[in-house]
Each structure stands twice: as structure tokens, then as C-alpha cells.
């Protein structure tokens, strides 16, 4: 899966479940999602939606604030979890 495909799917999940104050499509890769309005509860929804979208499971050790802090960070985590 290309980075741009991954990005667009992450942005779609954020748009549906992130409850962000900004359009997820317009966010920079490195923009702080918590500053953009992501709450701890919304980050749970994002995590569950990403798991469904990519058929993966985030292990406990990846359930950290920083993993969901930006689109780039989420992409980095997904790259580790999605089978090549």
C-alpha cells in the first residue's frame, strides 16, 4: 500500500471518528491532532476504526498518546502493523 493511499484512508477515519475542529483533509502530516481537537475518547474510536479498516490490532504497548498524535505518527504505527 502506498503512503498516499495510507494517508487518505487515515484522513477518512479521522474525518469520521476524530471529531476534529478542522478538516482532516487539510491537516499537515505532522499537525498535532490533539491540538486539532482529538480527545482521548475520540482517539479510542480512531484506533478501533483503523483496526477495522486495516484488519489489524494495536497491541497495548502501542496504545500511547504519541502514536495518535499526528497523521505521520499513525502512518508509522500502521506501517509496523500491516503485513507487507
Amino acid at each position: 500500500m502506498t503512503d498516499s493511499t495510507l494517508d487518505s484512508r487515515i484522513r477518512a477515519v479521522l474525518a469520521q471518528h476524530g471529531r476534529l475542529a478542522q478538516d482532516s483533509g487539510a491537516l499537515a502530516d505532522s499537525a498535532d491532532l490533539y491540538q486539532a481537537g482529538l480527545t482521548s475518547h475520540a482517539s479510542v474510536n480512531v484506533m478501533l476504526a483503523l483496526e477495522s479498516a486495516f484488519d489489524i490490532e494495536f497491541p497495548d504497548q502501542m496504545l500511547t498518546r504519541s502514536v495518535f498524535s499526528s497523521i505521520a505518527a499513525i502512518r508509522g504505527a500502521l506501517t509496523q502493523l500491516i503485513p507487507a
Binding site: R19, T39, H41, N45, P59, M62, T64
Partner: protein, 181 residues
């Protein structure tokens, strides 16, 4: 939702090396939890709550969103109090019991217990809800070291002994006065 940064750490007033008081707070929308249950169903519940929590949050065969919201707020408040956001802790490791009626309690398991040095702290939690909002405040107080605890108990025994001696002395004095009268 308020900032999810660790909230307050109050320095120990005697400036010793013992652990500080730790405080965390969180606010959750009950309707948002209802939406999560609708969107993700049992997977949402299983991912966040331990079996006992789910059993305690079930009313007439259905998960009660308000009970889950207060528990989730308590879990997040605990994460803030102990600065666990970067540790990688599964939410069921922070177990919140007795939400209704009796005082709520937080029990830590697994990595959460280890990192938070659960044995070092007494954890107190207060839960509240009003309309669509559920709130939790967690306060962790350092336990007194075993030596200090036994010293305190020793001091209490000594004070009680002194009190008994004073009572006996007053009785003796009173009896002596009566004899002189």
C-alpha cells in the same frame, strides 16, 4: 475534554524524596460513549473495560453508557495522575469498581500497576455525572513508609499510655484528697 496532559503534581511540602501527591481529572460525554457502542459494539466495550466492569455496568441486559462513561473518565484521570500516556497501558488494566452506591475504587493491574508503583500510593477516586457529562477525579496519596507507620502506631500507643497514667494519677490524687478531708 480538558487537556490530556498530566494535570497536577503537588510537591511534597517537606521537600523530601518521598513520592508526591498526584491528581488527574477527566470529563466524558455520555452520548459520545453511546455513539461508540453503536459504532463498534462489543469490541469497544471489550477493549476498554474488564469483565467485572462490564458486569457492573449492565442494566437489564444492556450496557449502561453513563456507567461506562464515568468508568472511562476514571481510567483517563488515572492515566493523567500517574503520567501513563506514553507507557502503553490497556484500559482494562485500570479497573474501576463500585461506581454506584459504595465508594468507587481504582485497582491497577499489569504494566499500569508496575509503572504507577501501585503499592506506594493510596488511590482515591470521585465520580460524578450530570446530564450528558460524566466526570472523574483521581487523587493518589503516598502511603507512609512501613517504618513511619509503625512509628505512628508506637506514638499512638505511647500517647494512650500517658493518658491512662494521667487518669490513674488523677484518681490517686482524688482519693488522697478525700482521705485528707
Amino acid at each position: 475534554m480538558l487537556s490530556s496532559e498530566p494535570v497536577f503534581t503537588v510537591s511534597n511540602p517537606d521537600n523530601s524524596m518521598s513520592p508526591s501527591v498526584r491528581i488527574g481529572i477527566d470529563l466524558v460525554q455520555v452520548s459520545a460513549i453511546e455513539r461508540s457502542l453503536a459504532d463498534f459494539g462489543a469490541r469497544f466495550a471489550r477493549r476498554l473495560f474488564a469483565d467485572g466492569e462490564l458486569a457492573d455496568s449492565t442494566v437489564d441486559g444492556h450496557l449502561d453508557a453513563r456507567a461506562l462513561a464515568t468508568r472511562f473518565a476514571a481510567k483517563e484521570a488515572t492515566i493523567k495522575a500517574f503520567d501513563l500516556a506514553e507507557v502503553g497501558v490497556g484500559w482494562p488494566q485500570i479497573e474501576v469498581s463500585e461506581c454506584d452506591g459504595a465508594a468507587a475504587r481504582v485497582r491497577l493491574h499489569g504494566a499500569a500497576a508496575g509503572v504507577a508503583c501501585a503499592g506506594v500510593y493510596e488511590i482515591a477516586v470521585a465520580l460524578s455525572h450530570d446530564g450528558d457529562l460524566a466526570c472523574a477525579i483521581v487523587v493518589a496519596l503516598p502511603r507512609a513508609p512501613a517504618g513511619k507507620r509503625s512509628m505512628r502506631r508506637g506514638e499512638e500507643h505511647a500517647a494512650a499510655r500517658r493518658q491512662r497514667v494521667r487518669c490513674v494519677m488523677r484518681t490517686i490524687t482524688s482519693n488522697e484528697n478525700r482521705r485528707h478531708d
